[in-house]
């Protein structure tokens, strides 16, 4: 009887072992490679250190650069120990988040500066810019509307968007 139980237990263990890899395991990033893959040290001593783990995100086209120590969830696609992935969900500080693909330029934020052409480049419309009511010094009248074309000088240091 005990031999039968041991046999069944052994069979079941083989079948059930994979189920443990259906879970997500908390850990921290110990390094991030140039291609974005990370090395992960799981909190649980039962889960081995995972290296060169691809990062998966909930937003398609997003690419993140993270600091060492960033918290992650380590998972295994299909329950396969050969297919680990890192799911970055923590609010830990990030180096950068690129939306729409890798690279891009900083997104502008409220209060970010813009720059239009300097005074030397100010376009003077036909008729010039003249003062009216000079005695009171109150107003400046454009003969025609003037539009200055410039660009945003800066934006977020961490959040980027591609064209």
């Amino acid at each position: 009887m005990s031999n039968t139980l041991a046999f069944v237990r052994a069979l079941a263990s083989v079948r059930l072992a994979r189920l443990g890899l259906f879970a997500l395991y908390a850990g921290k990033v110990t390094a991030q490679r140039a291609d974005g893959a990370v090395d992960v040290l799981p909190d649980s001593p039962l889960v081995p250190v995972a290296t060169n783990v691809p990062v998966r995100l909930g937003i398609p086209g997003a690419v993140v650069r993270v600091k060492t120590g960033t918290r992650v969830q380590l998972g295994f696609s299909g329950g396969s120990p050969r297919a680990p992935f890192a799911y970055l969900v923590s609010a830990d500080d990030v180096i950068s988040v690129s939306l729409g693909g890798d690279g891009g330029r900083p997104v502008a934020c409220v209060g970010d500066a813009v720059q239009a052409p300097g005074p030397d480049d100010l376009p003077i419309p036909p008729g010039g810019i003249v003062f009216t009511n000079v005695a009171a010094g109150l107003s400046l009248t454009n003969a025609q509307p003037v539009t200055l074309k410039g660009s945003w000088l800066r934006g977020s240091s961490k959040v980027l968007a591609v064209s």
């Binding site: 729409g100 003062f131 000079v134 410039g150 660009s151 800066r154």
Partner: protein, 158 residues
């Protein structure tokens, strides 16, 4: 049927449902609305249509054929496939903020147009008009500008 085969069959039947607790790497074949037709890498898992899930509320996206992500099953229910957890890559378009008028987010270097109004209040003094070169004056009327262009791939709603 041997005893081992018998026991294996029982165990297999008991744990079969757990296969739907796993996540399966898959490739997008086609997008239809906010669902995708996907082809899993694992030959045991058939191609299917799955609802898209994003890690950020209010997000919708148009993904390219060939995009890679993970197929999962809500509640471990094979009739409720969902697709998320994307590999780094390209995207056709992503909209942040939910429903509404979506416009491209502005980035450093994107053009702006500042409009000087026809009548501007100024401070300072001038001796005559037209204003002689070198005159300093301050325009107190706010100059309003708009972003002339932004990202074509990353949009945000109003």
């Amino acid at each position: 049927m041997t005893f081992a085969t018998f026991v294996t069959a029982i165990i297999r039947s008991l744990v079969a449902r757990f296969d739907f607790f796993a996540l399966y790497p898959s490739t997008v074949v086609r997008q239809v609305g906010q669902s995708v037709e996907i082809q899993p890498d694992d030959p045991r898992v058939p191609g299917m249509k799955a609802d898209l899930r994003y890690g950020l509320p209010g997000t919708t996206a148009q993904v390219a054929k060939g995009s890679r992500g993970l197929l999962g099953f809500e509640n471990g229910d094979p009739s409720r496939p969902v697709f998320s957890l994307w590999e780094p890559g390209d995207v056709v378009q992503i909209i942040l903020g939910g429903k509404g008028n979506a416009r491209g987010v502005v980035r450093s270097g994107d053009p702006v147009a500042l409009a000087l109004p026809p009548l501007m209040l100024v401070t300072g003094s001038v001796a005559s008009s037209p204003v002689p070169p070198g005159t300093t004056m301050t325009i107190t009327t706010p100059i309003v500008g708009v972003a002339a262009a932004g990202s074509g791939k990353v949009l945000a709603t109003s």
